[in-house]
Structure formats: structure tokens, C-alpha cells
């Protein structure tokens, strides 16, 4: 029997959604400061309207649904999945008012792409977009990367069990510090420290390659936020190709690698435990999978002699591989070149790298290295079981911050989520083919959206069918939240309709 949700459930969900909505509104104050700095008048009004709507909606929700009860697991999961949709719609308001989007759906696509740290874009004439709107585009992954609900609630909540449920709902299972709000604040602190270092590094590099200081540091901040949060947005339409600089690409590669690592690993590295990086199952699996993907991509590119020189191969082949594997999506080639020049084998390598993704508890998307590591360990254990005598007891361990015994529950969870991702990749590819795109193109774009990468082979465009835009929005949302909170929302809706 399915139980109909109680009025209290709706009230608690509404109350927390209201708080998150106000939080999103508060973040819109940052672009306003930028607008004042660059003397951009029209964008200032766009953000006033955005703040106004979010505050109004937020205050209404908190007033109507006022409650002092804490969240249970179901409510926490639903708040998370809904808050991502609400945040997408609200963050889209100032972008839509910029006049650089052909429809509100395109703007929602852009803001979901930002929050989910994907980086697929539908913006028109990006090269003439204001600094203010551009900053907001890059702030969305910075918020989404840390987790929208957690980001908003860490401003209002001092620590509650409900916050932990939302933390888990946003695809983070590892608590770095005992209190989840402290964990969220730690993630914020390291992100801001990295932001300062990254902006200065990219700003100085930008100046050395001939950019104006103002542009160099603005681009530095934007590229850092998009790189560290594995989003792949850039302030110019050519993405990283705009800079025509090897040194800029090197700094960007470093940022992408830092961004794809587990925040828990960052904590241990910051605490002086440098050995962890060599022992951790995730970094080892990342090294293994990127090496294998590298060989596939290298073989594919060599077969067609796409990049004859070593430096060329590094700046195009290796850069794209790291960008895809870290699920960032920065490009130093044009979207069409993937299909026109790279060939099926190299593309296959990139698709595999994108599908596998980065580390758990990071801003990266995809299946994640922890799950891949666990599955590989499970396969190894099964092979050993077949080889050894029946009575032999086999114990498999792995190292992730501490030594952990591998059990069936972990394997089941890893396989289940992996299966969900594979279904999501295939479903998007099928819809792409239904819309008339070739198989490889559809699979590439679908994997890029669902694994929150942001690479495009040319399908993602304002002219693509609305069905495909909605598909990619759902893929980005589901891929970022890792399904559980979305399944809970679907279950809640079914219960609301069919429950007794």
C-alpha cells in the first residue's frame, strides 16, 4: 500500500525550498557588485528583477509553510531534487533578460548546465555578453559544484540532521568533518582559497600572453570557477582556443585535475597526509583509466594522422582527454572537429573517459572512480574465488582515506548507480537519434550531458529540437544528483496521486 503524503510533508519541503530560494537571491548580489564595477547599467536591473522574484517567492514559501520541524530522509531528498529545478528557473531570469537567448527554455538549459557543472551552452553572441551576465554564468557552477541546497543552507542553518540528508541527496556521501555544515563550510573555504590562487595564476598568465589586465583577471576568475568546478564554461565563444597559449592550457589542465579530485582527499592533502594520494583507490583508478583512454585516443588520432607533431598531440589530444575525463569540457578545438576529424576510435576513447568521469565527492560527474575501483576489485575477487579452492576465505580490501573491507552491499550500490548511468547515456542517445542525429553524435552528446562534461560535437545549438533540450536538462539534473533524490521525488509524486 502506498501512503499519501501528509500536509506536513508539503509544508516542510516548501519551507526549506523557500530558504534555498532566498539563498539563490542573495548570490545574485555578487553580479550586481560586478555590474557596478564595470558600469553596466542594464544588467544591474536584470539582477534586481532576479533578486526580487527570488526573495518574494522565498519569503512567501517560508511564511506559508512556516515550520520548526526537521527534515526526514524522504523530505530531504525531495527538497534537493526540487531545489535544483527551482534554482534553475530563478537563475535563468537575469540571463533571459540579457537578450542573449532565443527562449526561456534555452536560458533554463544554460542555468541547469551551470548548476550541474556541465558546461553545454545555448547562449547567442557570447562575445558581446556583459561582464555581469558572464560572471553569473560562471557563478552557477561554483554554487552547483558545492551543492545548491548545502550552499544556501550553510548561510542560514547552524547544523541539523536535515542538512546531512540534503548533503547526501546532492550526491555526497562522505562527511569530511563530523558536522555536515562544517563540512560544507570547509568545502567553501578550500574552494575560495583555490579561487584566489587560480585567478591570480590565470590572470598573470593572461597578462603575459597579451591580454588587458582587466580582461586577464576577469577571465582568470571565470575560467577558474568553470575549471575547478568541472563545468567548462568560458567567457568567449572559442572556449580555451581563444587564448592561443600553451602556458594557459597547462594552468587550465592543473585546475581541471585539482577540481576532479575528492574533497576528502583535498582535506588530507591539506592536513599533510601526502601519501594518501598514492594509496587512494580513486587516484589509482583515475590514473589507470586515463592511461587506457589515452592509448585509445592516441591510437585513433595516429591512425588518421590528425595531429602529426607531439606538441600538437598534447595540446589537442591530451587536453581534450583530461578535459573529458575530469568532466570539465574545456575545448581547444571546434565542436565540429570531433566528428569531422577525430574518427570513431578516438571519439570512442573520449566517450569512455567522459562516461567514467572523475572522483566521488568532487564537482565532477560521470560514474566516478570510486565506483569503478570497487567494481574492478569485485571482479578481481570473483576471479580469485574461481581460481582458489572452494574452502578458501577471500577478503578484499581497498584504501579510501582508510582501509575498508569490500562487501556485497558496496558492490551492489556501485553497480546499481553504474547501471543507472549507462541507461541514462543510452536513453539520451536514443532520443538524439529519434530527433534525426547520427548514432555516434547522439551518443557523444548524450554522454556529455549526463556525465556533466559539456563537450559538444555540434548538436547542442539553439536550433536543436525542444525535446532534445528538455532531455539534456533532465540528463544533467539526474546525472549531477546521482538518481536517488530524483527517484524519491518520482515516488513522492506517485504517492501523492495514488496513495491512500
Amino acid at each position: 500500500m502506498v501512503l499519501k503524503p501528509h500536509l506536513d510533508d508539503f509544508k516542510i519541503i516548501g519551507y526549506y525550498l523557500g530558504k534555498i530560494t532566498i539563498g539563490i537571491g542573495l548570490f545574485m548580489l555578487i553580479p550586481i557588485v560586478c555590474a557596478l564595477g564595470f558600469r553596466e547599467v542594464s544588467p544591474t536591473f536584470d539582477f534586481f528583477i532576479g533578486i526580487g522574484i527570488s526573495f518574494l517567492l522565498g519569503f512567501l514559501l517560508t511564511k506559508v509553510c512556516s515550520t520548526d520541524k526537521d527534515l526526514n530522509w524522504m523530505q530531504g531528498m525531495i527538497v534537493v531534487s526540487l531545489s535544483w529545478l527551482v534554482a534553475t528557473i530563478i537563475a535563468a531570469i537575469p540571463l533571459y533578460l540579457s537578450g542573449h537567448f532565443t527562449s526561456y527554455l534555452d536560458t533554463c538549459f544554460e542555468s541547469m548546465s551551470g548548476f550541474a557543472t556541465t558546461g553545454l551552452t545555448l547562449v547567442q553572441d557570447l562575445d558581446h555578453l556583459s561582464y555581469t551576465h558572464n560572471l553569473w554564468r560562471h557563478l552557477t557552477p561554483f554554487m552547483g559544484g558545492q551543492g545548491i541546497a548545502i550552499v544556501a543552507l550553510s548561510l542560514f542553518v547552524s547544523g541539523s540532521s536535515g542538512a546531512f540528508k540534503m548533503y547526501v541527496g546532492e550526491a555526497r556521501e562522505e562527511k569530511i568533518l563530523p558536522n555536515v555544515i562544517h563540512t560544507a563550510r570547509f568545502i567553501w573555504i578550500i574552494s575560495i582559497i583555490y579561487l584566489l590562487i587560480g585567478t591570480i595564476s590565470l590572470g598573470v598568465t593572461g597578462m603575459l600572453i597579451g591580454m588587458k589586465p582587466q580582461n586577464a583577471f576577469f577571465h582568470g576568475a571565470c575560467i577558474f570557477m568553470a575549471g575547478f568546478d568541472t563545468a567548462g564554461f568560458a567567457p568567449q565563444s572559442q572556449n580555451i582556443l581563444y587564448y592561443h597559449s600553451f602556458s594557459f592550457e597547462i594552468v587550465t589542465i592543473l585546475i581541471m585535475i585539482i577540481g576532479t579530485l575528492n574533497f576528502n582527499l583535498h582535506f588530507h592533502l591539506w592536513s599533510g597526509n601526502y601519501k594518501e594520494i598514492f594509496k587512494n583507490i580513486e587516484t589509482r583508478t583515475l590514473l589507470l583509466s586515463s592511461t587506457l583512454a589515452f592509448f585509445v585516443v592516441a591510437l585513433g588520432l595516429k591512425q588518421l594522422n590528425v595531429y602529426p607533431g607531439l606538441v600538437m598531440f598534447f595540446r589537442k589530444g591530451f587536453f581534450q582527454l583530461i578535459s573529458g575525463h575530469s568532466t570539465t569540457g574545456f575545448q581547444t578545438i571546434y565542436a565540429q572537429q570531433f566528428i569531422k576529424e577525430w574518427g570513431s576510435l578516438a571519439l570512442g576513447g573520449i566517450i569512455c573517459a567522459m562516461a567514467l568521469g572523475g572522483c566521488a565527492c568532487s564537482t565532477a560527474g560521470g560514474i566516478k572512480m570510486l565506483r569503478l575501483g570497487i567494481i574492478l576489485k569485485a571482479i578481481k575477487e570473483d576471479i580469485r574465488r574461481i581460481m582458489l579452492p572452494e574452502k578458501a576465505i577471500i577478503v578484499q580490501k581497498f584504501h579510501h582515506i582508510k582501509n575498508i573491507f569490500l562487501d556485497d552491499k558496496q558492490i551492489r550500490a556501485a553497480l546499481l548507480i553504474t547501471l543507472c548511468y549507462l541507461v541514462l547515456y543510452c536513453a539520451g542517445a536514443l532520443i538524439g537519434m529519434f530527433c534525426g542525429y547520427p548514432f555516434l553524435d547522439s551518443l557523444f552528446e548524450s554522454t556529455s550531458a549526463a556525465a556533466n562534461v559539456g563537450f559538444s560535437c555540434g548538436i547542442t545549438d539553439a536550433g536543436m529540437p525542444a525535446l532534445l533540450k528538455v532531455t539534456y536538462i533532465i540528463q544533467m539534473w539526474a546525472g549531477r544528483l546521482e538518481f536517488m533524490s530524483i527517484f524519491t521525488l518520482l515516488g513522492f509524486l506517485v504517492a501523492a496521486i495514488k496513495g491512500k
Binding site: G52, D125, Q238, H244, Q336, K340
Partner: protein
């Protein structure tokens, strides 16, 4: 008989020369036509190493690198990197951004699908650059309705925030 042969030779030579001139002119006319960025990117192998003409708006920064410089030129579909001697950039005063319409330029040069000199970039090494149209500052156009709506929301926001803090104050005291 000899005279007839020599006359034939002259006539044939004339036609061959005419054909050669025609071909050269045809090639010149073809290459003088500007090629769009989608055409170049989609058929990069076909144009690789060829002399082409490309035109569009200069966007972003003029990035000087020693005696040379990079500019990015957008034809509204894509922007392509142009590598050119620094001297050629001296006439560029406006580059496209939010508040500026960049100079429209016509570039002639060698197109590279994957430039060996620049780490595989798809670029154009320009031999000449001509400013077709000067860029200009763009005035921000703000619709009066947007201003009214924004002010209305601003007032609502301030009121709500004040109410929130007043209630917070009462809550703390009680």
C-alpha cells in the same frame, strides 16, 4: 607550308595563353571571395594550407606576442584565430565586447587545419589585413518597463528584508 604551321602555332599559343590567363583570373576571383567560418571548419582538410580571404568582427583582446599578435575574428557563426605581424594590428582600435562593436576586418592569408607552429590550432596566418568598417561604442538601451519592474521589486525586497529583521529582533528579545 612552313608558314601555315607557324600561323597555327601562333593561334594555338594565343588560345593556350588566353586559357591560362582565364584560369588565373578565375582563381583570383574565387580566392577573393570571403569564406565563412562554418565552411572553413567543416571542410578544414580541403582548405588546409590554402590562401583564403576571411572577414568578420575583431572580438576580445589583441594579444601581442613579440613581433606578432593574435586576434580573434568572428563572422557571427564562429570566431577564428588570426596570427599576424604586429604592424598589421595598428589600425585596430575597437574590439568587440558588451559595450563595443569591434572593427570589421578582411583578412587574407594561409589557412591551417592544425597549425604546426601553434600546437595544432585551426588558424589563419594573415599576410594582409584591411579594415572594412570601423567599430564603435554601443550605447546601452534600457527599456523603461525594465526599470519600473526592477524598482518595484527592489522596494518589495527591501520591505520584506526590513520585516524579516524586525521579526528577527523581536524573536531574539522574546
Amino acid at each position: 607550308m612552313k608558314k601555315v604551321y607557324s600561323l597555327q602555332f601562333i593561334v594555338y599559343s594565343f588560345f593556350i595563353m588566353l586559357l591560362a590567363v582565364n584560369c588565373t583570373l578565375y582563381t583570383f576571383v574565387c580566392h577573393a571571395e570571403t569564406i565563412s567560418s562554418p565552411e572553413l571548419i567543416n571542410n578544414a582538410k580541403q582548405y588546409d594550407g590554402k590562401e583564403i580571404t576571411y572577414s568578420g568582427e575583431v572580438i576580445g583582446d589583441v594579444m601581442v606576442r613579440g613581433k606578432f599578435a593574435w586576434i580573434n575574428v568572428s563572422d557571427a557563426k564562429n570566431a577564428i584565430g588570426i596570427w599576424l605581424p604586429q604592424d598589421l594590428t595598428k589600425g585596430i582600435y575597437n574590439t568587440g565586447s558588451y559595450k563595443t562593436k569591434g572593427d570589421m576586418v578582411e583578412v587574407k592569408g594561409k589557412f591551417n587545419r592544425a597549425c604546426i607552429e601553434h600546437g595544432g590550432d585551426l588558424d589563419i596566418h594573415a599576410s594582409s589585413l584591411q579594415i572594412v568598417q570601423k567599430g564603435e561604442k554601443v550605447e546601452e538601451i534600457i527599456s523603461p518597463r525594465k526599470i519600473k519592474v526592477a524598482i518595484a521589486f527592489l522596494i518589495i525586497c527591501l520591505t520584506l528584508t526590513i520585516i524579516y529583521f524586525i521579526r528577527l529582533g523581536y524573536g531574539t528579545r522574546s
